[in-house]
């Protein structure tokens, strides 16, 4: 019987079936960062346990670090304390740390693929829900909590149940001005934020096949926002080209042997799925969220929907969303005034994202009432962008050019919304309070749309600027 990537990778990593009926699943790559690990390391110390496979474990600093002035000690004493714990734990347990001095520091989901650590056929875990990002290379990659981080550190394993598998097919061709971010926002809008609960997503179809690896990373990143704990794209020639020459990828003849194995883990023709959903890529336009979860979005030319047309159980959340955002049902999203523009995050903080934002930034200057930040996802992204002069384009247009980190995606560092500020953001979550102000408001969109909003001061159809 034809098998899926999920079947093959799950089987290859099964240590045993546990008495509970769950699988003891081996984790091939464990990525860690400073926020969700200090308690796990303390639990290891208390239990006198070591890290089982330190050579399969890699750390970085991303969530709490400032992106303006990174001089140590950090101005925020809590951030400094978390950084110190990370340094100490990495040293005590013999785990490599990609800190600023290595030139390889960055958001954990940007550096994993960038360094070639994340490879097809792997199981990858990290104490961060956006670990689903790494599924883009053809891996089974998912977020875990801190007690599970402790389990992976101590045993290199997790107790897991295999999810059902849904293939999400996006066919057709995307119009100009429509990007990977719009594709995943449209998928979440159509399938819902809880549509993926109990499922893993396999992304397929013409649109996904033609995507670059960075675009696939954007799509897989937000699987979790659709309720799917992980999502993946089958490895293909694009995947293999991407991995060639990366520092932690095999080289020479070993690369060819690796490529053969990577190809072999892809879903076989004729494999069956628990469910299949189809999205018409050609029908998509730039998407903007208007509410308080990533399902609440509309095409940029559309109006904000009325709670009254929603199923009854959903109406209270829709009303709460309108009240929080200060929007009216029936109002066009285009023209909504913004205060802050943010390009960055594990969703859209890669070189291709900065390039497209720079194209738009060339067309104008940041509106006088807007604070605009460009935050590269890693030191290597920053270096590559600077080599192309992108930072100069941004700075000339009035954007701030920052250092790598999670920044304004989640309000754990200095980059935060103030009061009820409205943010046009290339990040992944528009939850109430997400960007650091309890009353702050977030509109999610592609980096191109963020740049367009920055220079016009309001939500704008980027296709009109790119014409």
């Amino acid at each position: 019987m034809a098998r899926t990537l999920l079947d093959k990778v799950w089987e290859a990593h099964t240590v045993r079936t546990l008495p509970s009926g769950q699988t003891q699943l081996l984790i091939g790559l464990h990525l860690i960062h400073e926020v969700t690990t200090p308690q796990a390391f303390q639990m290891l110390k208390d239990a006198k346990l070591k890290v089982r496979m330190p050579e399969r474990t890699f750390g970085t600093l991303d969530h709490i670090i400032p992106t303006a002035d990174q001089t140590r000690p950090y101005a925020d004493p809590e951030a400094e304390e978390m950084a110190q714990h990370m340094y100490r734990n990495m040293k005590d347990f013999g785990v490599p740390l990609f800190d600023m001095a290595t030139g390889k520091q960055g958001i954990v989901h940007v550096i994993g693929p960038e360094l070639g650590l994340s490879q097809p056929g792997m199981t990858i875990a990290c104490g961060d829900s956006h670990t689903s990002t790494h599924g883009a290379v053809g891996a089974i990659a998912f977020g875990i909590g801190t007690s599970q981080v402790r389990d992976v550190l101590a045993t290199q394993c997790l107790s897991m149940a295999k999810p059902k598998l849904r293939q999400v097919r996006v066919d057709g061709a995307l119009a100009k001005g429509v990007y990977a971010k719009d594709v995943i926002l449209a998928i979440i809008n159509q399938l819902g934020v809880k549509g993926g609960v109990g499922f893993a997503y396999e992304y397929a179809g013409d649109v996904i096949d033609r995507m670059t690896m960075e675009e696939r990373l954007t799509v897989c990143n937000m699987s979790i926002e659709g309720g799917a704990r992980f999502g993946y794209v089958n490895p293909d020639a694009m995947t293999i080209d991407y991995l060639r020459g990366r520092p932690y990828a095999p080289s020479g003849a070993a690369f060819d042997r690796a490529s053969a194995w990577w190809n072999s883990v892809a879903t076989e023709p004729g494999a069956s799925f628990d469910d299949v959903k189809r999205i018409d890529g050609a029908a998509l336009e730039p998407v903007v969220t208007w509410g308080i979860n990533p399902e609440m979005s509309v095409g940029v030319t559309k109006t904000i929907p009325s709670p009254e047309v929603q199923p009854e159980a959903e109406r209270p959340t829709f009303r709460e969303a309108l009240a929080h955002m200060g929007f009216q049902a029936g109002q066009p999203i285009k023209g909504a005034r913004i205060d802050v523009a943010f390009v960055g995050s594990c969703t859209n903080g890669r070189l291709s994202d900065l390039r497209v934002a720079a194209e738009v930034a060339k067309k104008g200057k940041v509106a006088s009432h807007v604070r605009a930040l460009i935050v590269p996802g890693s030191q290597q992204v920053a270096k590559a962008a600077e080599a192309e002069g992108l930072h100069e384009i941004f700075q000339a247009a009035g954007f701030q050019w920052r250092k790598a980190g999670c920044s304004m995606c989640l309000g754990m560092n200095d980059d935060k919304l103030k009061g009820r500020e409205m943010s046009a953001s290339s990040s992944n979550r528009n939850f109430i309070g997400r960007q650091g102000s309890p009353t702050g408001r977030t509109l999610l969109m592609s980096p191109a749309m963020v740049a367009a909003a920055a220079i016009t001061g309001a939500i704008t159809d980027v296709r009109e600027i790119l014409k």
């Binding site: 714990h85 961060d128 045993t155 989640l410």
Partner: protein
Amino acid sequence: MSATMTDYQRRQVTGRGIPVTGNDIDTDRIIPARFLKSVTFDTMGEHAFEDARKQNPEHPFNQKAYQGASVLVVGQNFGCGSSREHAPQALRRWGIRAIVGGSYGEIFFGNCVMLGIPCLRTSQEDLEWLQKAIERSPQTPVSVDVEKQEVRFGDRMIKATVPDGPRNQLVNGTWDSTAVLLEAGNAIEATASKLPYVKGF
């Protein structure tokens, strides 16, 4: 450690209920990110739903009638979003010992299992009934039976399910999984050594 397996068993939880209505309540809402800047979980309980409570004096976690409650009753997709274990840690430290709802964010659900907090699923109709019943009678205990997969309130019983794997872990007291996983011994390295990317291409 002197705790026995019986201490870890989570067959039943009985306590007063607290309803938090609404769907898609994310873990940022349960514990805002700025409170995660701590190397321990010790202070999480005092910040549970902090921003929501400040903005809404009527929030259930603010109401006197619900102080001391231990069974949280929620809507659909509760705990979606961020993987932060700080969310169930905050709820547990506030006093929550079991959750009944429509559905859960999967990472949140797994984190709850790791802390021995059963999360049971029930129908939309039954959860709305239970939330309203608790509002009317906050002193009446809610009895959650993980093993039998049912919830009792007053003289009414509703069906509420937990998937087999987590249910077995909770009922048998094996949810604190490090010891169970370590029992595999060398089978862990044996599985790893068969993987081409571990043994070397």
